[in-house]
Amino acid sequence: MKVPIVVVDDEEVDRYIVNRVVKQSGIDSKVVEFQAGDEFLEVITDERRRAEEIGVAPPPILVLLDINMPRMTGFEVLESIRNSLGADEDCPDYMVVLMFSSSNHAEDKKEAYSYGFVKDYIVKPLTEADVKNMVERYYRV
């Protein structure tokens, strides 16, 4: 089973672009969309609980997380992952988080990488090269 790519982004066009680019790059991965950080957190918390109940590891996912979102920013999502999912500096091993933003600001990158489980910072728009790179580096989770 291919690891699903989860995109958390309030901008519909950007989610559409991710869908299209992933498809074009030829990898056979499902793209799961969330338009807000809290909705995403709710689902993965559920997933994790369910996995714990039946005594298995939660299914691995690869997350593209936008920073600038209205209700909850990407950084707030990271904070919440660190706090509520029990992830310390290290990522919960089933989840690879890649920041996904139009900002190329050094300060944003610095803040993103201050979370140990953020593995990469992709500046929008997503390209096929980005997807291929992602697959090569993180798909053997």
Partner: protein, 499 residues
Amino acid sequence: MEIKEEYRIAVEACPTPLMLVAQDGVIVLTNRRFDSLFGYHEQALWGQSVDLLVPEEIRDAHPELRQAFFEVPTSRDMGTGRDLFGVRKDGEKIPVEIGLDPIQSDGTTLVMVSVLDIRERKAGETRIRRALDAASSAMVMINDHGKIELVNEQTGMMFGYEPKELLGQAIEVLVPERYRRKHTVFRVSYQNTRDRRDMGVGRDLFGRRKDGTEFPVEIGLTPIDGIDGRLIMATVIDISERKLIEESIRRKNEELERLNRELSEFAYSASHDLKSPLSSMVGLLDLITGDLDSGDHEEAQFNLKRARDLGSRLAGRIEDMLTLAKSDRQDDGWAGLSVCDEVATVWQILQSGVETEIRFSTRFDHVDPLRTVPARFHIVLENLLSNAIKYRDPKKAEHEIRVETWDQGGRFHLAVRDNGVGIPEQYQGTVFQLFKRIADSSEPGNGVGLALVKKNVLRLGGDVTVESSDEGSIFTVVLPRQHEDGVRPATDQILEVAQ
């Protein structure tokens, strides 16, 4: 009158200018030093009236004074406490000190007058006096009872007194009433240390003028121990101007810090809010290229429309940023504004485009008009009211907006309450930031309204806060009030119900 030869020799030998005067005022004897002090030839004064040597202005009164002396002849100084002058033959008035001693000669009383030429001493005193008066600081000398013994001209000017008015007064007369008691305690304890230092280091000191007004000062203390007691010289500098400059520098610094913050916010906004539609457009254009290559014209059309929408959004945001920047540069024309009329006018315009019924009420309890920058006030009110309309809660049966005003603590308050959707607590801190939006992009609003409100309220020297729950929101604007004429308007009315 015959004078004994021994007297004559003794008087002549005395190093002090001396003369003997009879009761009728006739000069009986002078020594050579006396003659030369007053510019006469030897013995030329003998037989003349002593009034010849007295300044014209008191010449008439002098015989009476002389008579009084002879009635109770005792050794004493003449004219204690007054400045005495003698008149030389050439008319020059010279400052003198005069001692009077009665002596008996052949059964009659004579007075021995000794004269001290104090011209040099007076010249020295005048030099010191001028030096004190030339000082740019006020100088006040007090004795160990805290009484003012000496002040220079600058003291008079700084504190609004005639210098002589201050002599003999307690130093506390120059201290604001509320510090007087404490000052007396400090002054007494200072007499124990008597060190040369600045007064009240680290505290703000104030002087009090005769008219009761106060001004900030710096005071240096120097103890002076003289034959006439343990004196203290206080040097006072009026630092009003320096304080004003400090205050203006402080304000400028705050302004710079604010601008700096705004610049960082702008940089953040540019890298997120302006760049994000552009990035999406670039992404879409890549996809459109692919769509065209694969001949999917329908998808290409669809994506072109999306790209165009993003372009419009970007243009809108740039427009918003320019509006915000323009509101920074706006001329601040202060004028009286009727808040009641302004609220009515703004509501009239805003409600005309609303389909839903909204109950709008006001309660004005402030002194109208308000002195403000009408253009800025208008932006504040318009955005708050249009937000109240925009974010009404569709789940609620009745929509209500209420504007309340009041004066409190010398400040004008304006509250805009609504029973709209409200702002979750965690976002209440950021709602005033540019392009910060709580709702998803499908909701109305562009995230610039409250940033504009905040900026304009700050520019008016006030502040704006928000309280909110799912019951609704209250935005409260507080503005400084200047002294102005106005009336308290009739309160409590329901202005209008929009159709």
